[in-house]
């Protein structure tokens, strides 16, 4: 993926000496700054992954970090994903807080066993004696013209596993805050990075307090009254664009950014849908057994009498992720979300 790596050089090496104040950053750079802040704060935080050292990662998200923190804390690993996660588990047992980079979504599967049978269960297996503060960063989602295994959205597979937290930021501020909250979490966190949004810019308050909110609480991006658009990661931008289009039609859409799909902020979704009476869930992952199915079930049970229409889902199909030439037909577009809204209003 040399060409992609060249194309995706987005972060600069002129990092501030001490992060403070408010800056305009790309989402990728915001993650970079978040990791830098976490590493300065706690010397047990370390990064592991393929090509994350001198190269700075194929998306340059770790750019400059090995230069600042050294090879013992920013480790270029052998090319083996199970090995990355498995050794991260051992490092966590010794008191470290490893942040693993999986180069692309489709390459996480060699590590699937370590993540689902070990990482997720060791805290429970040892009755709480051993915590697993491991973060696994995964660039995911499509829209960048990648080859096979470079555009997938496997998050539901991990949300289905107890013991893991699964989050995905949609904007630079959340990316900056969430990576730090993920690193501070004593639980393992799958941190899915919307790769098509790496270059999107936004204002980031570098002094944001780090708590646990963004790992647990959804965020209302836009208030509305007629329909709730539920999204996370790369689909939040699609939801916002859809809301803009709906406003022109005189319809008021509320946009909810879930931020996490494990846990899922059911209360926030339910509160919104009780207000609007309509719910559309948008994600790039296939809708079949996806996060949208879980949300639809919860909303149906909790808001049955408030619903004006069935909960509808807009997302990927039950097919392999398509070739780059056709990925834009597969991905949930504004037009397809508008179609779903029309169907909801037809009830």
């Amino acid at each position: 993926m040399t060409t992609m790596a060249e194309r995706t050089h987005t972060t600069s090496s002129d990092a501030p000496d001490a992060a403070s104040g408010t800056k305009t950053l790309t989402l990728g750079k915001a993650i970079n700054e978040g990791m830098r802040a976490a590493m300065r704060h706690d010397d047990k935080v370390m990064l592991m992954g393929e090509d994350i050292g001198p190269l700075g990662g194929v998306f340059r998200v770790t750019d400059g970090l090995q230069a600042e923190f050294g090879e013992q804390r920013v480790v270029d690993t052998p090319l083996a994903e199970s090995g990355i996660v498995g050794t991260a588990i051992g490092l966590a047992m010794r008191g470290y807080r490893p942040v693993c980079e999986i180069q692309f979504d489709g390459f996480i599967f060699p590590a699937f066993n370590q993540i689902t049978t070990q990482l997720s269960k060791i805290h429970n297996r040892t009755r709480g004696a051993i915590q697993m503060p491991v973060v696994i960063r995964v660039p995911y989602g499509g829209g960048i013209g990648g080859v096979e295994h470079h555009g997938e959205s496997p998050e539901a597979l991990f949300a289905h596993t107890a013991g893991l937290r699964v989050v995905s930021p949609s904007n630079p501020q959340d990316a900056y805050t969430m990576i730090q909250e993920a690193i501070a979490s004593p639980d393992p966190v799958l941190y899915f990075e919307p790769k098509s949004r790496y270059w999107g810019k936004g204002s980031v308050d570098l002094d944001t307090a780090i708590g646990t909110d963004t790992l647990n609480a959804a965020h209302v991006v836009r208030q509305g009254t007629d329909v709730t658009l539920v999204a996370y990661g790369p689909s939040v931008a699609t939801a916002i664009k859809t809301a803009d289009a709906l406003a022109e039609e005189g319809r008021s859409a509320e946009v909810l950014d879930l931020r996490a799909i494990s846990p899922i902020d059911t209360a926030a979704v339910v509160a919104s849908v009780r207000k609007t009476g309509r719910c559309i869930v948008i994600h790039e992952a296939p809708v079949f057994f996806g996060a949208g199915a879980e949300i639809a079930a919860r909303v149906t049970e909790e808001c049955f009498y408030a619903l004006e229409a069935p909960v509808l889902r807009v997302g990927g199909f039950h097919t392999p992720y398509p070739v780059a030439k056709h990925e834009h037909e597969y991905l949930p577009s504004v037009d397809r979300v508008l179609d779903a809204v029309d169907r909801a209003f037809a009830h």
Binding site: A88, L91, I130, S185, A306
Partner: protein
């Protein structure tokens, strides 16, 4: 000594004690013989005690399973020298990553015998706090824990632990012949090699991966797997507690001194079934079992101790009494294990910090269990539930 591994090829194997219990003097083994010679009669009696008690633990646990008190048990019979000999070379600060049959290692590490059966009772997924004994709980997914061992060793390196053959820290991981085919075991050696991590890969080649002989795992002797990754690698007679001890001590010291990982293949035999659910008569002959019975590791050490006047009737009676005490403690202790309350056992410690889904499901189940299930399974306030428009 040479042994064969599914072929007629002679394979160099370190042996310091022959099956009749005689000390063996072979060219090129002086360093190992010196290590064994440094063991006092008291040390050897300690190893013998641990081996006999490990076998007693096996017998008692197997009986408890037959009585329906354990869901399953995986006996270690035949592997006592490999386990006890290697564990006697460990120091308290060293960290152990066992597979699931290392009852002899746990015996030496001093783990509570009842705790060691919690997993097999079905009352616990683990059974003990690893940090209290520097011994991880059993891992069932074959070979997965070898990566944890390598990662832990990488952490030891980063801590700046002193390089000292006694006071340094080593990590050891136990796995079997079947596990050598797993990707994780091979990846763990890659990571250990390139990082020069202080970890010892201790393979117990007990000839059988459930029903599959070692010839289904490899066409070359298994210690060569270690060699291929650039690790100092050695095959030892796994039923010879002296050879196992000497080889493991050497490898652990190499690790504690910061000289990197090693690989040991202990060539041994699983005398019993894979687990209490297995039936070895379907895949191996009684002739083979008889051949290995004549190489019993406990008989071998007993013969040495007798020849060196280190085993008398009083000591044997003492161990017998200790075994009886162990048996009684297991029978009482195991029957008392219930895993705590259903709610706590299932919902506690899934996450270290509150997780909305688990919290809501727990609250719902507790209310359901109390005969008062709430309308919402999701812990949502019901005030607006009836808010039809």
């Amino acid at each position: 000594m040479t042994t064969t591994n599914g072929s007629n090829e002679a394979i160099p194997t370190l042996q310091l004690l022959d099956p009749q219990g005689n000390r063996v003097t072979t060219r090129g083994t002086k360093g190992y013989r010196d290590r064994a010679a440094a063991l006092t009669a008291e040390d050897l009696r300690g190893m013998y005690r641990d081996m006999v008690l490990t076998r007693r633990f096996d017998d008692e646990a197997t009986s408890l399973q037959r009585q329906g008190e354990l869901a399953l048990f995986a006996p270690a019979r035949g592997q006592e020298a490999a386990q006890v000999g290697s564990a006697h070379a460990l120091r308290p600060q060293d960290y152990v990553f066992p597979s699931y049959r290392e009852h002899g290692v746990l015996q030496v590490r001093g783990l509570d015998p009842v705790d060691r059966l919690r997993f097999f009772r079905g009352s616990d997924h683990g059974g003990w706090n690893p940090n209290e004994s520097n011994t991880a709980v059993y891992t069932i997914v074959i070979g997965a824990h070898t990566l944890h061992a390598t990662g832990y060793a990488m952490g030891v390196q980063r801590d700046g632990t002193p390089h000292d053959k006694h006071d340094g820290t080593a990590v050891i991981t136990y796995f079997g012949d079947g596990a050598t085919s797993q990707g994780d075991v091979n990846e763990s050696m890659v990571f250990a090699a390139v990082n020069e991590a202080p970890v010892v890969f201790f393979l117990q080649n007990n000839q059988w991966a459930i029903s599959e002989p070692t010839t289904r795992q490899a066409k070359t002797p298994l210690y060569k797997r270690g060699e291929a990754f650039g690790l100092p690698s050695l095959r030892v007679d796994g039923n010879d507690v002296l050879a196992v001890y000497a080889a493991t001590q050497e490898a652990l010291e190499r690790a504690r001194l910061g000289k990197g990982p090693s690989f040991i293949e202990a060539f041994t035999y699983r005398m019993g079934a894979h687990t209490t659910s297995d039936d070895p008569t379907r895949y191996r002959t009684s002739d083979e079992e008889e051949q290995w019975r004549r190489r019993d590791p406990i008989d071998r050490l007993a013969a040495l101790l007798r020849a060196e006047n280190a085993l008398d009737e009083d000591f044997e009676a003492e161990i017998k009494a200790e075994g009886d005490e162990l048996g009684a403690a297991l029978r009482t202790g195991v029957r008392a294990l219930d895993g705590g309350s259903a709610v706590e056992s299932t919902f506690d410690d899934v996450y270290a910090t509150p997780h909305g889904v688990v919290a809501a499901e727990r609250a719902w189940y507790e209310a359901y269990d109390a005969g008062d299930p709430p309308a919402s399974q999701y812990a949502i306030a019901d005030s607006a539930q009836g808010g039809a428009r």
